[in-house]
Amino acid sequence: MLPDEMKTQLEQKIAATDHPRELVVDVIFAMQDHYGYLSDAAVTEAAALVGMTTVEVDELATFYPFIYREPVGRYVIHVCDSVVCWMGGHESLQNHLMQRLGIAMGETTADGLFTLLPVCCIGYCDRAPAILINKKVYGELTPEKLDGIIARLRDEAGA
């Protein structure tokens, strides 16, 4: 269950609109921020808040790449694999990441720190190859730069 304060905040936001379901993605994101991912229980909770069925919510949750229906790591790394980043060496970058973290695309490291996911063009083609980590962009990447970023995040997490 959501903490009361958070639930009240969402309810107020929903009460202020004529069309509660227009807020469904916002509500899902709020749940995801709180729980770390969108669990089955969270789907039910979100549906009740905006007056939709759980199937309707799940239909969206499974459609959008930034909504996670399974647990993800503390840092979700979205690797851009569209054509400009591909030209800029995305494949070797992605291989490097998988090797360094010891996981395949779509997996999470055993320590729960990192999840690797593919994503289509993120709109930073001027800084290709680029990735997002928790929606923050990192561009003009090289394997060395990536190692530095991963090391910093590990430090930040105290791992």
Binding site: R21, I67, G123
Partner: protein, 433 residues
């Protein structure tokens, strides 16, 4: 390069966003003050129509005509949606515009809303642009405080406000009707008209949807006039400036505001710093992933909607992705097909089933397992995908069709040599078989 008139990028700074004060000091919100005081609603519509302002999001539909399809007696409330989804690969102009001068967009939205008497505006923005969403929320609040948004704007009878709506991602959300479904908390499938959104869009009400860059042009047109706007272009058919996001094998990838109708060669050589050392121009996609490859033959083509159309191409979003002589066009097209296959919403059969089929054939060709017989099948399929439900599939097959037309020899070389002549190793991540 500096003598190119900067209109949308007038207040562009290297590392910060222009403030409301700066925007006002450059004449910002003047147009809005005047038309509200003069109740010059018809003038706004007329100026946009006369300026030949074509939609900058890819479809190039004339904004003036779109506004006039909202009937005089259309029901209220009416909505204005600003498409800041920008998911067309290679395109990053709207992001730069939002990070440059957000009040330009806000004024453009108020003016467009005034023209159709819309009460509510919504900016639909992709999750990758979370920073831009926050900037907009902050600046919208500042504009509201200054009286440019909210009840009875600047003491007039007109009320209008803006909300920022975050998307969950997915390319199809850039399609007008899919975006409206997304805004209503529905699965973002496209919806074939009629009814057109200008009759029955968001919540069944009249809705006009415009791209960020298009809306950013509006304050300048209303302030300086249609003749001035048309005069910005280098070609008779063009109007205004265009923000060209350039990426790929060039020295200075980035966003350049240049006159509509500027030659492709000038964009690449004079503005984007020319090709990378050791690289020669082979082809480019002139307006995002859903346009056809432009080859050396069109290196000097004037970049405006009409000139490209005449040459059998599309300007799309104006996002120029440059490929060099060392790039395998089969592999590049395969990458684009991976993108379209993944992003298809799955609603209609030709798109859902056709794209993976094409992708698999290209994969086999790239990995040395292609057959001569694949080529006519691919040609046939690229024609048949035009029967899909929305514009997604015809866009998706544009690079494929142009690959077969302009780089047929390269495709055949893959097949006869049973390997990629560029030495791309099979068995990489894109070889899932």
């Amino acid at each position: 390069m500096m003598d190119t008139p900067q209109v949308l990028f007038k207040n562009r700074h290297v590392d910060r966003i222009a403030t409301r004060d700066e925007y006002e000091a450059g004449g910002g919100y003047e147009a809005l003050k005047r038309v509200l005081a003069e109740e010059a609603r018809d003038e706004v519509q007329a100026a946009i129509k006369e300026a030949l302002l074509l939609g900058r999001g890819g479809a190039a539909f004339p904004m003036g005509i779109k506004l006039s399809t909202v009937a005089e007696d259309a029901p209220f409330p009416r909505y204005l949606v600003c498409n800041a989804d920008e998911m067309e690969p290679g395109t990053f102009k709207d992001r730069v515009l939002l990070h440059t001068d957000p009040h330009q967009l806000i004024e453009g939205m108020v003016l467009a809303a005034f023209a159709i008497q819309a009460a509510k505006g919504i900016v639909f923005i992709r999750p990758e642009y979370e920073n831009a969403a926050r900037i907009l929320e902050r600046e919208v609040a500042l504009a509201r405080k200054a009286g440019y948004l909210g009840e009875k704007i600047l003491g007039s009878e007109f009320s209008f406000d803006i909300d920022v709506h975050r998307s969950g991602g997915r390319y199809i959300c850039g399609e007008v009707t899919a975006q409206l479904n997304a805004l209503m908390g529905r699965r973002p499938n496209p919806q074939q008209p009629p009814p057109y959104p200008t009759e029955s869009g968001l919540w069944g009400q009249p809705t006009v949807l415009q791209n960020v860059e298009t809306l950013c042009c509006v304050p300048h047109i209303v302030r300086n006039g249609a003749t001035w706007f048309k005069g910005l272009a280098l070609t008779e058919a063009g109007a205004g400036t265009k923000i060209f996001p350039v990426s790929g094998r060039v020295n200075r990838p980035g966003c350049y505001e240049l006159p509509m109708g500027i030659r492709l060669s000038a964009i690449i050589e004079e503005h984007a710093g020319g090709m990378l050392p050791g690289s020669e121009f082979k082809a480019c996609l002139p307006g995002g992933a859903s346009t056809r490859f432009l080859t050396r033959e069109h290196y000097d083509i004037p970049m405006d909607f009409a000139s490209l159309k005449e040459a059998g191409h599309r300007l799309g979003t104006g996002a120029i992705m440059v490929f060099d002589h060392k790039t395998c066009m089969v592999a590049a097209t395969l990458n684009l097909m991976e993108f379209f296959t993944r992003e298809s919403c799955g609603w209609c059969t030709p798109c859902r089933e056709g794209l993976p089929y094409i992708r698999d054939m290209l994969r086999r060709i790239e990995n040395g397992r292609g057959e001569e017989g694949f080529i006519p099948i691919l040609e046939q399929m690229s024609r048949q995908l035009w029967n899909a439900y929305c514009a997604f599939a015809p866009g998706a097959v544009s690079p494929l069709e142009s690959l077969l037309t302009f780089f047929g020899d390269e495709v055949r070389e893959h097949i006869s040599a049973r390997k990629c002549p560029f030495g791309n190793a099979p068995g990489g991540p894109s070889d899932n078989r």
